[in-house]
Amino acid sequence: MRNWSFLLMALTVAVAPLSACSEPGTSTNTSADGQSSNVGGSRLQVVLNRGRLVCGVEGSIPGFSFLDESGAYSGLDVDVCKAVAAALFDDPDAIEYRRLDTTERFTALTGGEVDMLSRNTTWTITRDTSVGLEFAPTTFFDGMGMMVREDSGITELEDFEGKAICVTSGTATELNLTDQMRKLDISFEPVVYQNRDATYAAYDEGRCEGITSDKSTLISRRSTLPTPGDHVLMAVTMSKEPLGPVTINNDSAWFDVVKWVTYGLIQAEEFGITSENVDEFTTSKDPSIKRFLGVEGEGTLGADMGIPNDFMYRAITHVGNYGEIFDRNVGKDSQFKLERGLNDLWTRGGLMYAPPFR
């Protein structure tokens, strides 16, 4: 009798994890030989079924993604998540945010813990190819900068010979910094922290002469230092840092949704559609605008991707166009007062350009 129960137990122990784990596997297999629409095996279907978007954000950079005292997220990166959620569910709050640090963000995405990243991630070729990511359109064209104390007397990179620079681990900046300093043949001491808060705390109490990151991040984090006025950004741009949302490689259906919602925000600004006047545009005579907003009977731009036709109408109603998002979070209506610069529309000399919606 005792032996039988042993056997039963052994079988249960052996089989239980298998049956539990094999579920996602079988679902991918069945969907692979599925319909002409490749939505079935996509992350898109997972997100739609869940009714909620899981978005990976940074969470500690005011203006981009910041968790405030009331527990609400705000910022440019967060608004991109909200736009996607609004497009899918007509609800900008159908989001579960995950705060990810620089070293864990890609594994969280490739491991399927988050649906998309919207957290100051630089588009580079290695990340696009060997890391296995897919970069949606850039939402913020940035450059890498360096912040120092105003009284330190450091004005150019050459002054960093033998000095220490604080940097966050796993970032493109960490690699760019080395490249720049190698080019100039300057030996410096990098002090690398896993956590962004630790990096800024160490810089603030004087462990390093300089701290390097994307300029937007530096400006935003400067506002959180005890005496922001003591710190200045040096007049150097060490690299191009195009920042945008990221999804996993080889999932076109889901990538298309994130990509075209992002483009849609830019296109809306070009059309002049804002969260306030969007309803007036639904009766517009312009067929391209009606198509864009998914007005009944005017094209199937959304349905072709497997989402509602009025996805851009929803996104704009809830979060506004790209210009509104920019101004609200980092531009003229925010504490940072950043110029649009490269982030202006192509029609005004910037780099923001959306392919045609047709």
Binding site: V13, R127, L175, R182, V191, V192, A198, E205, N249
Partner: protein, 392 residues
């Protein structure tokens, strides 16, 4: 047993009733289960990697790393390979680990023995230290040492100097250290030889004292002579260099311990030593009271009772758990990443982010820490055998 009774053939009933059959079947099933789980995990990994068009492989290790590392025992340049970068990280880890084990053992044994002190204050300090340190998380303690203690030190321009021998600022700590000259290395060699010679004479002295009842005076004199010579070599032969403080902060000469290294070493030492203190205390308490009384009744002084009678017996209990404390310390060095020390785990995360190779890098990490800990275990097992009861 039953199944061995005669040759009238195979019987299913008999087989099912045989205890040994079930024991074997259970083992086979477990093995199959484990194999299945692994096969599933590996195929799952393969499928996911194929979905993202990633190929498994270690060839990326020979690519140039293109990142800098703050401190390194060997020379490292950004154009060196990822393998070299990881090696630099490993050396930093081993450096921290070795120093940590030595200091934690010294502090831990001291604190453990101090808890038996007759001195009220010493006893209480030892107990409070163990109580506080053992019951707070190590990561918190590391941040405390890094930001609250070492962060309070003045800026390099206004650095502290302890009688011009040790310099402290919020970037680094400079301590005196032997010079890297051939004379210093020769002196180190002489010291090691002297140490071995002293050990042999020590054993010989005890042997003649026990077996022949000799006084051992001659050997004692020899030991003292060796000790005096060693002391002279230690002070003058190694060419100790005191750091020379610089005008603008920092120092030249001596040994520079970065603030990250110093904070990590202090934190790890304090934390592990508290556990070692408890192990030592438990070991000493495990020696029966009769041994103390017997030793005292022979007229031995209290410190001799501890050194010659109690502690050697306590070692039998102390060594096995000490082994696991050393292994914990070895693993905990990876927490130094949080305070910016470029040890193996830190370099590994910098490696897998641009290469997108978390699986390979984590396999390397796991294999490395496993090897380190197996080596520690091997060493401690040897030590354990040496202190066990000698059956005569």
């Amino acid at each position: 047993m039953v199944s061995e009774s005669g040759g009238n053939g195979f019987s299913l009933r008999k087989l099912l009733r045989d205890d040994r059959f079930w024991k074997a079947a259970f083992q086979v099933l477990t093995l199959m289960g484990v194999c299945l789980v692994f096969a599933f995990l590996i195929s799952n990994l393969n499928r996911n990697m194929a979905r993202q068009s990633i190929k498994f492989g270690f060839s990326f290790l020979s690519n140039p790393a293109n990142f800098s590392i703050g401190e390194s025992v060997v020379e490292y340049r950004p154009q060196d390979s990822y393998a070299k970068a990881l090696f630099v990280g490993l050396l930093n880890t081993l450096n921290l680990m070795t120093a940590g084990i030595v200091w934690a053992t010294i502090v831990g044994i001291t604190a453990g023995v101090a808890s038996f002190s007759q001195n009220w204050l010493v006893h209480k300090i030892s107990r409070a230290y163990v109580g506080v340190i053992r019951n707070t998380p190590l990561l918190l303690q590391l941040f405390f040492w890094y930001f609250a203690i070492y962060g309070l030190l003045p800026r390099p321009q206004a650095q502290l100097s302890i009688s011009n021998l040790i310099f402290l600022n919020n970037r680094a700590v400079y301590i005196p250290w032997p010079a890297n000259t051939s004379i210093a290395w020769a002196s180190l060699g002489v010291l090691i030889v002297a140490g071995i010679a002293a050990l042999i004479i020590w054993r010989w002295r005890i042997q003649v004292m026990v077996e022949k009842g000799a006084s051992g005076k001659a050997q004692g004199m020899a030991l003292m002579a060796i000790g005096a010579a060693a002391l002279i070599i230690l002070v003058f032969g190694l060419g100790w260099q005191a750091p020379q403080g610089l005008e603008g902060g920092g120092a030249t000469g001596g040994l520079k311990l970065s603030r990250e290294y110093a904070a990590a070493l202090t934190g790890l030492t304090c934390y592990t030593a508290a556990f070692i203190a408890e192990i030592v205390r438990a070991g000493i308490q495990s020696v029966s009271l009769g041994q103390w009384e017997a030793a005292r009744s022979l007229g031995l002084a209290p410190n001799v009772v501890m050194r010659l009678v109690v502690f050697p017996q306590a070692l039998r209990v102390i060594i096995p758990p000490l082994n696991s404390e050393f292994m914990n310390l070895a693993k905990n060095t990876s927490l130094a990443f949080a305070i910016g020390f470029p040890e193996l785990y830190s370099v590994a995360t910098t490696t897998y982010s641009p290469t997108g190779r978390p699986v390979e890098v984590f396999l390397i990490l796991m294999a490395t820490y496993l090897t380190i800990n197996l080596l520690i275990s091997l060493g401690m097992n040897q030590l354990n055998q040496a202190v066990q009861f000698k059956e005569r």
